[in-house]
């Protein structure tokens, strides 16, 4: 495990959710809110199209931080996020992070998930045990 210092960038995670990802995430999570899986319904309530689940985007932030510990699920101790812009399928999401504190083998990472110009997840703070 490479040593991390305050100010270091974590490896970037890039994911392009395909057209049917919201349906698979709905099945996996149990959240079948039609704004995520029904394009017509989403447009009817004023959205540009069916949108990604905010907790899916948070899941990507968790994945990027867990990767710091080789993907060990025990490593992620805490994750706090604010969900802001709406994510859509078929457009790349980029998760980036900066180490903001190091305490022994525990690091705190400030993480952001963006899609084009839209910030999906802001002010995400992850505590990872390395």
């Amino acid at each position: 495990m490479a040593e991390l210092n305050v100010g270091d960038q974590i490896p970037e995670l890039r994911v392009t959710p395909d057209k049917y990802l919201p349906h698979r995430y709905a099945g996996a999570s149990g959240d079948f809110n039609p704004i995520h899986i029904d394009d017509e319904f989403a447009k009817m309530v004023g959205l540009p199209r069916n949108i990604l689940h905010g907790l899916y985007s948070m899941g990507l932030v968790a994945k990027a931080n867990t990767a710091l510990a080789g993907g060990d699920p025990r490593a992620l101790k805490r994750l706090s996020v604010q969900m802001r812009g709406m994510g859509v399928p078929e457009q790349e999401i980029v998760v980036t992070g900066t180490v903001k504190a190091v305490d022994g083998d525990r690091v705190t990472v400030d993480t952001v998930a963006t899609q084009g110009e839209t910030a999906l997840i802001k002010n995400a703070e992850a505590e990872v045990q390395l």
Binding site: Y25, S29, G30, G54, D72
Partner: protein
């Protein structure tokens, strides 16, 4: 309109979720997580887990049924149509593994108006069959135009 805050402090009956291997696999696949500890029992045991282990954010799968009744409670009177999920926090304890029975209780921490929006904050506490805490969640739901 004044925000109804009677439900602050209210607690809801706990729900129990049984974690299964196929459900963990389905969740990991949706997130594109490929660590074998989420798919293969031998790999999970070699890494020190009782059974196939869930990714951390699988917490939403076992704790959502606990927070659902709180969000829909008429006493909370949350306008579902104007709601967005504005923030979420999880703190994790014991890992969640296949076979675990995880019991989640929910509580309303606060209901506040800020800048014409209603901020509803709920807390979930999830413990496994041994009484060990698996996750504590803080759910912030924002309602526009209150």
């Amino acid at each position: 309109m004044t925000l109804k805050t009677d439900a602050v402090g209210k607690e809801w009956p706990a729900t129990t979720y049984q974690v299964g291997r196929e459900k963990i696999k389905e969740y990991a696949n949706a997130l594109g997580i490929d660590n074998p500890v989420h798919f293969d029992v031998e790999a999970a045991r070699a890494a020190g887990y009782r059974d196939v282990v869930a990714p951390p954010m699988f917490a939403v799968v076992y704790s959502s049924p606990g927070v659902g009744p709180a969000i829909l409670d008429p006493e909370v009177a949350l306008n579902f149509a104007a709601m967005v999920h504005g923030g979420q926090e999880f703190e994790w304890g014991e890992p969640a593994c296949s076979g675990d029975e995880i019991t989640t209780s929910a509580k309303c921490l606060s209901i506040e108006e800020k800048g014409g929006k209603g901020f509803y904050v709920f807390e979930t506490n999830s413990v496994n069959q041994d009484g060990a805490q698996v996750a504590r969640g803080t759910w912030t739901l924002i309602v526009r135009g209150v």
